[in-house]
């Protein structure tokens, strides 16, 4: 066996052994490296990778909470969340899609276009992702589908919820809800962890103001999903929490009535309880259909809304700015009395116009009113009388009273669409226009023209605070607690006519803040307003109520759009003959009943002409409706405990 090659063989095997040793050493190094890597991944970085793995595994689907309801004063729901019947289709579960669509077409009203659209959507999506066949089925279609469900594999009837409004009568004050936009997400903090795709949020009005509380708490479903995004199983579900419901001070019946009354007009009406500031009605016209906004607006409808000259989307009652016109005369007179500029029986002679500072100031009555005192000045709305009063009073004192009575600042809070208007004075002009005040402008201010700007709601508040005897009230639209301080005070005063306490001390016991120096002045204004509405020659005399139950005291006004030229004035051009856009806005403010005031109202009709003709008839009808429901309202109010 010891062949010559065997030595060679031994050398060779030693060489192989040596080289193998090197390789084995290298293997050991690699092995250690692998263990090191495992330690790094599975021990050192385990937490990081565990969270990454969970991030892979779990996906959460947020569930939109149910939006709280908004109710009127009588607990009628004026914005509610109602079931919505939808039909979804999961292509994966359908055996034969074409056949299914034929069956569906036989049962529902689906057009061929819709079918081909759905088929395109299905092609693009994953097979387990549902497509919405029908977004809003009525109950009869929905029940028919449920009847045939066993033949319709892959079809899923879904009961969802959506914001629903009974009608469009309160569209402006309620506002509308619509899909969350990117901008909403950026600007509203409460939406950060609340944003559910497809969830509607309040965009205007009360829906916006109350959004944070009414929207509820978002729920979620946590699913384990596979690599393709298919839900494997539900891990956890949290239904979330429905939003809070709110009771408002609005009267849905009055809203409907007023809304019908204003149909086709560009107009606004506010009605307010003069003692507690409860807004009974707030209507702007023309209105829009809030239900249309819930599921994404139809483009044609949207265009028709934004192109309409009557601006249906604007809430004219709180965001429309109009010169108050002659309705301001109540405040001018009151301011003059309070500042002892005039006495009630001081007179001026009205010859139809006066010339001052090189300018002609016309009275609306070309022939003039003759000898005019305060009562007649308001009754006839004599411009010359108020030019004289304003001239003596000065704009700064006037603006002080006007502001005290609620003009020039927002009445409600948190309505982004509400505007504050302007109560001009010398400082204001210097600041915002950069010029000195001209004396002539005081005269224009005295009849509510010029720089004066106010909303119908402000005028309503102003009137209410005159009607209630001159006490400050805080208007409200959300009924949060019973507020009967002022009524209790009046009742106490009636029952204790000989109360020794001075008035100012007494009212502070009732948590009241008087706006007057001498309440007698308020009564003078109220009396003058009565004469304006109920005595021959009064500007709204034609629309009075004889029945004392409904008798109201008001003040007409018209806010000038375009100055009359001398020629027009000479020709006695009537408002009705002017082009629509050039006609004055008609205004009317009133309170009723005169003997025992309960409600104040303001009516605005854009380009309606004179307040007496266009606005007062509307006010008359609304006042009747509101007063007819007064007993009911008081009884509901009294049933409610001290705080709700």
């Amino acid at each position: 066996m010891l062949s010559p090659g065997s030595g060679n063989t031994v050398i060779k095997s030693k060489l192989i052994g040596r080289r193998m040793f090197l390789i084995t050493a290298a293997k050991a190094v690699v092995m250690v490296g692998l263990v090191g890597r495992l330690i790094s991944l599975q021990i050192n970085q385990a937490t990081k990778y565990k969270s990454l793995s969970d991030k892979n595994r779990f996906r959460e689907w947020k569930l939109a909470p149910e939006r709280g309801a908004i109710k009127d004063f009588f607990d009628t729901k004026i914005a509610s969340t109602e079931p919505l019947y939808q039909l979804h289709l999961v292509p994966e579960n359908a055996k034969d899609l074409d056949n299914l669509f034929v069956r569906l077409k036989a049962i529902l009203n689906i057009t061929d276009r819709k079918v081909s659209y759905l088929k395109r959507v299905i092609k693009k999506q994953k097979p387990w992702e549902p497509v919405i066949v029908s977004e809003n089925l009525d109950w009869s279609d929905f029940s028919r589908i449920n009847l045939f469900l066993h033949e319709l594999e892959g079809v899923e009837p879904i009961v969802s919820v959506a914001r629903t409004y009974p009608d469009n009568s309160s569209a402006h004050i309620l506002g509308y809800v619509s899909q969350i936009s990117t901008k909403d997400l950026q600007t509203k903090e409460y939406l950060q962890d609340l944003a559910v795709p497809g969830m509607a949020i309040g965009k205007t009005g009360l829906e916006r103001k109350l959004d944070e509380q009414i929207i509820g708490k978002v729920g979620y479903q946590r699913y384990e999903v596979n690599a393709y995004g298919k839900r494997i199983r539900e891990i956890k579900i949290d239904q979330g929490q429905a939003g809070k419901s709110f009771k408002t001070t609005l009267d849905y019946e009055v809203q409907k009535f007023t809304n019908d009354l204003l149909k086709d007009k560009a107009a606004a009406v506010c009605v307010m309880d003069v003692y507690n500031g409860d807004i009974v009605s707030l209507v702007s016209s023309p209105t829009f259909e809030p239900n249309e906004f819930v599921h994404g607006l139809d483009k044609a409808y949207w265009n028709s809304l934004i192109k309409d000259d009557k601006k249906p989307l604007a809430n004219k009652a709180i965001s429309g700015l109009y010169p108050p016109g002659s309705t301001i005369k109540t405040i001018v007179a009151l301011s003059a009395l309070e500042n002892k500029i005039i006495r009630p029986l001081d007179t001026f002679r009205c010859k139809g116009k006066i010339e001052l500072y090189g300018e002609k100031f016309h009275c609306w009555e070309k022939e003039g009113h003759g000898i005019v005192n305060l009562r007649k000045g308001i009754q006839r709305s004599c411009d010359v009388y108020f030019y004289e009063v304003a001239r003596k009073l000065g704009v700064d004192r006037l603006s002080e009273t006007a502001k005290r009575f609620g003009l020039g600042k927002k009445v409600l809070s948190d309505f982004i669409e509400e505007r504050s208007g302007v109560v001009p004075n010398t400082k204001w002009k210097k600041k915002f226009i950069g010029q000195n005040w001209y004396l002539g402008e005081t005269l224009h201010s005295g009849i509510g023209q010029g720089y004066f700007q106010s909303t119908p709601l402000q005028l309503c508040l102003m009137t209410a605070q005159i009607a209630n005897g001159g006490f400050k009230i805080k208007p409200r639209i959300i009924f949060d607690e019973k507020n009967d301080h002022l009524r209790n005070y009046l009742k106490y005063k009636n029952e204790n006519p000989n109360e020794p306490l001075p008035t100012d001390l007494l009212v502070s016991n009732f948590n009241l803040k008087p706006l007057f120096k001498n309440q007698e002045h308020i009564n003078l204004i109220k009396d003058a307003m009565f004469s304006s509405s109920n005595e021959p020659g009064g500007t709204s005399y034609r629309h009075r109520f004889e029945n004392p139950k409904y008798t109201f005291a008001g003040k007409t006004g018209s806010s000038q759009i375009k100055r009359f030229t001398e020629a027009q004035r000479e020709a006695e051009v009537k408002q009705e003959s002017l082009p629509y856009k050039d006609r004055d806005h008609a205004l009317f403010v009133a309170f009723a009943p005169y003997k025992n005031p309960q409600y104040a109202i303001s009516v605005l009709v854009e380009h309606g002409g004179s307040g007496g003709k266009a606005a007062a008839p509307i006010a008359k009808k609304v006042i009747k409706k509101v007063l007819e429901r007064h007993e009911l309202r008081r009884s509901v109010n009294n049933q409610i405990g001290e705080s709700v």
């Binding site: 060779k12 080289r19 084995t24 990454l52 595994r57 393709y228």
Partner: protein, 374 residues
């Protein structure tokens, strides 16, 4: 040394059974059973196609392992060239009659199974070169004349496999061949020179790469380059392994694999699945099993008398180690995804067949350790 040839070459069946390396057999069996659990988990905890077929294959080829073991090493030595040529013909067959799947032609349809000859070539080349270097004298090893044939038998199948295309397997085949040559004493200088030549040819080779192969290499260099595309596999595999932690998520609870985040979980990423479910200790257990198998193979190589046996066992051990290391480094994000199965663990008949065949020859070396091959 002076034992009569006749006695050695005709060992009784009892002797054969007694000289089996039971530690090696036992390690293979444990690894096989472990792989069945892993496969059962990839099927979502049910006995489905992959699990059943894997179990069947394991036992069929485990049986084959014994058959191969009991055949004399001399026989394997004699048939080495034939085996190589046979496998090479199969590779050529793939080129002309192969089945195409996901863009590459790797399989032959043998009716009862789809055979992947490139896997068999891993063993075939080692066998060929072990015999070749066994026969030439130590002086001849480094002469150019004797380098020509090894280079030819190495390069030919590598090119065939690389053009299937199957870059990963071709590299592993080449690695096996290079190791035999190295062990046989081919000078380091030669490897350095060919290494430099390869580097010089690299740009040309890259231009032949398919776009997906290029993207795999780029992705390896920066997995976050395209997290949902090419980098996906590496990232998901790292997440799976890392999230396994010390003790793992538990058997059948590997969310990454169960929810299909893990790609190729039956084959290349079977270690990832196991590691996710059984954690660091599970991974360590697998590594130790492989280390044990390797040490037994090296021990057999040490014990066997013939240089053919030594060359074969050492080379096979090293190649086996490379398969394991490449696969693990791949799933651990240390190498690009080249597509190489984990021996015994991964699903795949041809790989299992090749490994069991290779182990069988190792065991034959053990049983016939004192039998001279020529």
């Amino acid at each position: 040394m002076l034992q009569p040839r006749s006695i050695q070459s005709s060992l009784g069946i009892r002797d054969k059974i007694l000289s089996i390396d039971y530690i090696l057999v036992f390690s293979i069996l444990i690894l096989g059973i472990t792989s069945m659990f892993a496969m059962y988990s990839t099927d979502g905890g049910e006995f489905k196609y992959h699990t059943n077929s894997h179990i069947l294959r394991f036992f069929v080829f485990f049986g084959m392992f014994f058959v191969v073991s009991f055949i004399s090493i001399r026989f394997w030595h004699e048939t080495s060239y034939l085996i190589y040529i046979g496998v090479f013909i199969l590779l050529l067959g793939v080129k002309y009659f192969g089945l195409t799947s996901s863009g590459s032609k790797r399989w032959l349809d043998l009716y009862f199974m789809n055979l992947q000859p490139s896997e068999l070539m891993k063993i075939g080349l080692i066998l060929f070169l072990a015999k070749y270097y066994h026969r030439i004298s130590i002086e001849g090893v480094n002469s150019f004349r004797y380098l020509l044939l090894p280079i030819t038998v190495l390069v030919a199948p590598v090119i065939l496999v690389a053009t299937q295309p199957d870059l990963g397997t071709s590299i592993l085949i080449a690695a096996g061949g290079v190791i035999v040559a190295w062990l046989a004493g081919v000078r380091a200088k030669f490897f350095t020179i060919s290494g430099i030549a390869m580097l010089a040819l690299l740009p040309i080779a890259i231009s032949f790469l398919k776009p997906y192969q290029k993207s795999r290499i780029l992705t390896f260099l920066n997995p976050e380059r395209d997290p949902l595309g090419a980098g996906y596999q590496i990232i998901q595999s790292k997440i799976a392994i890392g999230s396994g932690g010390l003790f793992g998520k538990g058997f059948l609870n590997g969310s990454q694999s169960y929810l299909d985040y893990l790609p190729e979980k039956h084959t290349d990423f079977i270690f990832t699945l196991f590691s996710e479910e059984f954690g660091f200790f599970g991974s360590l257990f697998i590594l130790l099993l492989y280390a044990l198998i390797l040490s037994r193979i090296i021990r057999i190589g040490h014990m066997t008398r013939s240089n053919f046996g030594k060359l074969y066992c050492y080379s096979f051990a090293t190649a086996f180690f490379i398969y394991v290391a490449v696969n693990m480094m791949m799933v651990l994000g240390l190498l690009p995804i080249v597509g190489s199965p984990l021996p015994i663990m991964s699903y795949g008949g041809s790989s299992m067949m090749a490994i069991m065949f290779g182990l069988g020859i190792v065991m034959s070396c053990k049983i016939y350790k004192d039998v001279p091959v020529n």
